[in-house]
């Protein structure tokens, strides 16, 4: 039932897509999603209640329930109908819900005792609500008719299916014929079988053909592209990649098992919303960790991102074909690798949700002076009035809080974007920037004080220091003495600069044609001030690139229509051949830039076995020294087994410094294959440097070899 309080005078309801009326088929599909939500809720309740020992694996049902069902159910109760935005905001609101709830349980010290009961309660409420919706809409539960599919649509369906299936088969063969470890300094690209590339060509060719036919079936090829591009290491490698993803699973596991934070151990525990939310998923899934999420997290985030970019393009008035093209541009240019299991990847999805809610429910025509000076286009829809608008504001504020308690950088970008949108008058909200600022300061002051007390100067020392910021963000990231590595770094810098330059040209072209989208200008410009604040370990430029990319992708997808006069539509083959040529260059470049670190960011079987040996050997209170952070660290017993960088100097100097730690507990040195490759590729050390280091250390007579796995070794440091 829809509350009359939630309806606008025109009868539309809150948190629905802008379409004035849902078609019969979409109403039916909404009921089918209710059925899915009901099934997911009931399965989870049954597993939690009747299999408390967790014998039945339930990660899939727990994950799908957690990331989708609460948000979907809440929106349906408020009268939402099916639409792409409703589906996307279901993910955004569900994830926000668990992040805020999980953190609230942790900081009030009741996580361990309450989280299971709350999980069951949420699942039961969702089941009851979904059942209620199904009863209300039982007549809509019918299969869509296929009898009226037109011939062009059938042909497009055939092209999409054949290209995706054939491409997937070739990609699968290619992956089985490619090595799964021991990659060179250029990463995955040179080692991939030709079958993989052939599959990629077929899927992307199908995409171009379907785009030329303006078919919605291009979505199928785009989804396949996300899977085969961003999921490549997940399919290829034996273990989840990237040390930080492993660290995050360790943090999540600590919260899931202990119910507490360790703000003194790592700054990230001061923004623990994501970790607390993921810990609730781990508890609902009854698994030992969430490492099972890490392998294909980039695919999950990639699929959500293309939907967000598509919706953004639609909101600023792009055609459907341009919107799908924008999503494809985003996919093939998102090389920054910030989509692993992490707070920032989740915060990016939420940030896009916030932008979409603002632009869909609370848009307005920009101010007169902006329209006159910038030759702006206006947003098509009028948004929502009355209670639906208030609920839109509430959704925005919930997402803002979830972002602020989960990530350090995204609030700054969010504040910048919201302020710009308010200044130009593209949205109806006015107080949101002040709310973001106050909420951020409150969290930093009271929730993250362990982070900044004592080293405030260190955090703020770089503000406005252009030389240091440039050096850390660009200089240190662009230098290597290896030709392969140099090529990878050059491809990244080249792609980033090309995207930013093209986007600026696209915006200027829009201004020239009197079709500037002020929203895109705001979203593109908003992240750049962050570059002046903090180097963030030299990674700030990557984050800025990621957050500018949605707007840049939409701008780039609109360029062909800005270049063409209305009389010269894209009806000839020439522009599509050009698109295919661009893709032919872009896809290999993407693989080089995206997976160029794979030589040291991937973990071999020996790396994983060495980490298992470490955790089997190191008692609580151990300190483990590593030559670089490119290893499996903090994957288990986060509080009990700590890691530090191995002191520099001669073997004797290292021994002297390590001796200082012996009175605090057992001391280990772990040298893994991933560290060996990191030294060779990133630091430019000679091949075999790690063996030399090991021999030097052993020659001091103070080290005992606990075990060796591949080229890696675990040694215990002892008194003479």
């Amino acid at each position: 039932m829809t509350s009359p309080m939630l309806s606008t005078p025109r009868g539309t309801n809150v948190l629905t897509d802008p379409a004035p009326e849902a078609s019969p088929s979409s109403r039916a599909s909404g009921a089918w999603v209710d059925l899915l939500a009901l099934v997911l809720s009931l399965v989870l309740v049954a597993l939690l209640l009747f299999d408390p020992a967790g014998r039945t694996p339930q990660p899939a049902s727990a994950f799908l329930f957690a990331v989708f069902v609460p948000g979907w159910t809440a929106q349906r109760l408020l009268g939402a109908r099916l639409g792409l935005l409703t589906l996307y905001t279901s993910f955004v609101l569900s994830i926000s819900f668990w992040m805020i709830l999980g953190l609230a349980l942790v900081v009030t010290d009741v996580f361990d005792g309450w989280v299971d009961a709350i999980g069951i309660a949420v699942a039961l409420i969702s089941a009851a609500a979904s059942a209620s919706m199904l009863v209300s809409h039982r007549n809509d539960l019918r299969l869509p008719s296929v009898g009226r599919v037109e011939r062009p649509s059938l042909a497009s369906f055939f092209i999409a299916t054949v290209s995706v299936v054939l491409g997937a088969i070739l990609v699968t063969i290619g992956i089985t014929r490619s090595p799964n470890e021991g990659f060179g300094s250029v990463g995955l690209a040179p080692d991939l079988s030709l079958f993989y590339w052939a599959g990629l060509v077929i899927i992307s060719s199908g995409f171009v053909i379907l785009q030329a036919r303006a078919s919605n079936w291009a979505w199928m090829n785009l989804g396949a592209l996300v899977v085969v591009l961003h999921g490549l290491p997940g399919f290829l490698e034996d273990h989840p990649r990237f040390n930080v993803a492993w660290i995050h699973t360790g943090f999540v596991d600590h919260i899931a098992t202990d119910g507490s934070l360790l703000p003194g151990l790592d700054a990230r525990f001061n923004w623990a919303g994501f970790f607390s939310g993921a810990a609730t998923v781990q508890r609902l899934a009854e698994t030992e960790s969430v490492l099972w999420l890490a392998r294909f997290a980039p695919v999950f985030y990639g699929l959500l991102s293309i939907v967000a970019v598509y919706l953004l393009a639609q909101r600023i008035g792009s055609t459907r074909r341009q919107s799908i093209a924008a999503a494809a541009v985003f996919t093939t240019l998102n090389w920054v690798g910030q989509d692993y299991l992490s707070p920032q990847a989740t915060a990016f999805v939420l940030y896009m949700g916030l932008v979409l809610i603002l632009l869909t429910y609370l848009p307005q025509h920009p101010r007169e002076w902006i329209r006159r000076w910038l030759h702006t286009e206006t947003l098509g829809a009028t948004g929502r009035e009355g209670w639906p608008a208030v609920l839109g504001v509430a959704a925005c504020y919930i997402v803002v809080v979830a972002i602020i308690v989960s990530h350090q950088l995204t609030p700054g970008i969010m504040l910048s974007a919201a302020t710009l949108l308010v200044i130009v008058g593209a949205v109806r909200v006015r107080v949101l920037p002040l709310f973001i600022l106050v909420a951020f300061l409150v969290w930093v002051s009271y929730g993250a004080d362990r982070y900044w007390i004592g080293h405030f100067d260190q955090i703020t020392g770089s503000v406005g220091n252009i030389n240091e910021l440039l050096g850390r963000n660009v200089g240190e990231r662009a230098v290597s003495n290896q030709s392969g590595r140099t090529f990878v770094l050059a491809s990244r810098i080249g792609l980033a600069l090309a995207v930013w330059a093209s986007a600026v040209l696209g915006l200027l072209l829009g201004w020239w044609r009197h079709r500037t989208s002020i929203v895109l200008v705001c979203l593109f410009v908003a992240p750049f001030p962050m570059l002046l604040l903090q180097p963030y370990g030299g990674e700030m430029v990557l984050r800025v690139y990621l957050f500018t990319l949605p707007a840049a992708a939409v701008v780039l997808a609109r360029v062909p229509s800005l270049l063409n006069q209305p009389s010269r539509r894209l009806t000839t083959a020439t522009p599509w051949i050009a698109v295919a040529a661009i893709l032919a260059v872009l896809l290999p470049l993407f693989v080089v830039a995206r997976f160029g670190n794979e030589s040291f960011e991937a973990f071999s079987e020996a790396d994983v076995e060495l980490a298992e040996l470490l955790y089997a050997s190191a008692p609580d209170g151990s300190m483990v020294f590593v030559n670089s952070q490119q290893a499996i660290l903090y994957a288990e017993r986060v509080e009990a087994v700590r890691f530090r960088d191995l002191p520099r100097g001669t073997a004797g100097e290292r021994v002297e410094k390590l001796t200082e730690f012996l009175d605090r507990g057992p001391v280990f040195v772990m040298l893994s294959e991933s560290q060996a490759r990191d030294g060779e590729v990133v630091s430019g050390l000679n091949k075999g440097w790690m063996n030399e280091l090991r021999e030097d250390l052993l020659a001091t007579g103070r080290f005992h070899v606990v075990g060796q796995r591949g080229d890696g070794v675990l040694m215990e440091f002892r008194l003479p």
Partner: protein, 63 residues
């Protein structure tokens, strides 16, 4: 007189909740095109500024 309580979360958090509620109500009034009472605007701004002042004081005192 000790001013430790000025820096404690016992003062800051309730003030933050009050500020968030007032800001939300103000925003709700704006998006529904209703005339916001002056007391609401002044209350929201004063609460927010007081909170920001407390936070800045805390930053200065603890760093």
């Amino acid at each position: 007189m000790s001013v430790d309580w000025l820096m404690s979360a016992w003062l800051g958090v309730p003030l933050a909740v009050a500020a968030f509620v007032l800001l939300f109500i103000w925003e709700a009034q704006i998006v529904t095109v209703r005339r916001s009472p002056m007391t609401l605007k002044v209350g929201a701004i004063l609460t927010s500024l007081t909170l920001i002042g407390l936070i800045v004081n805390r930053f200065v005192a603890l760093t």
